[in-house]
Symmetry: C2
Subunit: 237 residues, 2 copies
């Protein structure tokens, strides 16, 4: 058994699991930190302490590796979201569940994932938030396929819980919800809004959702666009 020097270890606990898992873990970390394009397979494989060719051997290509990184966490999380929604719907048979309950069913699996460091934790959510904004077509197509069923189910549930909203209105509002959610989960903080608030503390996850949920619920429940208040574009004086 040769010594296996691990040349440029980037704090990934390599040399533990099997090759595919080590690659996935290193990829999750590096794609999150630098993005897809800016992460080279050479830095990735040396961080995972595997041979350069291993990515193409195990996953086929860099793009397929990226999809594997996403699907490993995303598939179970979205499945859990659906299960939770069905449970919430079963708890109040006949009547539609409240807007809050539906939203929580959507947020809680993400929060649980964020806390489970064994499943990528916050790293993965940041990666996911960035993937939402990535222009690469293969990422966009992959994400819409992964989310299609979950989003569809929730849209129907919200539609029943918010009867004052037309389907089109709700579509827009879910768009806003996903925006605030992904931006928050990504934890990018591009605008340095936070001077002292740290997102890295473990206890802050739950607090974050306790702040996000009321904001989103209030937005969702807002009156529908009907009393068309005129939006005067810089009325001259």
């Amino acid at each position: 058994m040769p010594s296996r020097p691990a040349r440029k270890a980037v704090a990934i606990d390599a040399t533990s699991a099997d090759t595919k898992t080590r690659i996935l873990d290193a990829a999750e970390h590096l794609f999150m930190e630098h993005g897809f394009e800016a992460t080279s397979l050479r830095s990735l494989t040396s961080a995972a302490s595997v041979n350069l060719a291993a990515v193409n051997y195990d996953f086929g290509s860099k793009e397929e590796l990226f999809q594997a990184v996403l699907t490993r966490r995303l598939d179970p999380m979205n499945q859990e979201r659906i299960v939770l929604l069905e449970k919430v719907e079963r708890e109040a048979p006949g009547r539609p569940p409240s807007c809050e309950k539906i939203l929580f069913a959507m947020l809680v699996p993400a929060l649980k994932l964020a806390r489970d460091e064994k499943r990528g934790g916050k790293n993965f959510l940041r990666l996911l938030g960035r993937a939402y904004a990535d222009p690469a077509p293969f990422i966009r197509h992959f994400l819409s396929a992964q989310y299609a069923e979950m989003i569809g189910r929730y849209k129907e549930a919200f539609l029943r819980a918010l009867p004052h909203l037309s389907r089109q209105e709700l579509t827009w509002r879910l768009h806003f919800v996903m925006g605030a959610l992904s931006y928050t989960l990504a934890g990018t903080d591009a605008l340095k809004l936070f001077s002292q608030v740290t997102l890295t503390d473990r206890d802050n996850d739950e607090l974050l959702l306790q702040r996000l949920a009321p904001f989103l619920v209030a937005g969702l429940k807002a009156p529908a666009l009907a009393d068309t208040r005129k939006l005067e574009l810089v009325s001259g004086d």
Copy 2:
């Protein structure tokens, strides 16, 4: 005067303005479409019908070009936001302006920019939304510097308009607002939420803000986190 063939024209109206402007226009388009890393200077310069070396001659480097692309639109827009906020504050002296008015002062310059095709229009806003989510450090540092003053002023204004919110609460909510805003402006629609709603129609810009503003205002006005509703993590029924 040689014929100048314009090899791989990508629908940029090249050969009109001066070199620097042609480069900025092509860069705005391509950075929006493919992102920073995935846009090569070779495709960019040939789209702009300028020599490959022109970028380094006029801007120094690819990174400096990217910053120039952003600053060309962002600087005037954020300045206009500040002017508008001051105008709104002057209109009701003594009393703080309403939450709606403050938010509109923030949104209207973005809408105006989106409509002005001569100033990049929606292309630029999509680029901006993507820049928010880009992990590259030089982008993040640049954006926070560009936004610092504007965000600070608005935070103070909102703080006066929403006295029930602590400074920290407001910071979070502005974070959510920026998330929904940038995600919406970016028009990424990663989740294919929209089947038939098209964002490309010219008239839809105003409609978009008329839908976004009530959502955000309701979220901002929501009660502060005090009646700490317990967020039970999947109560194992």
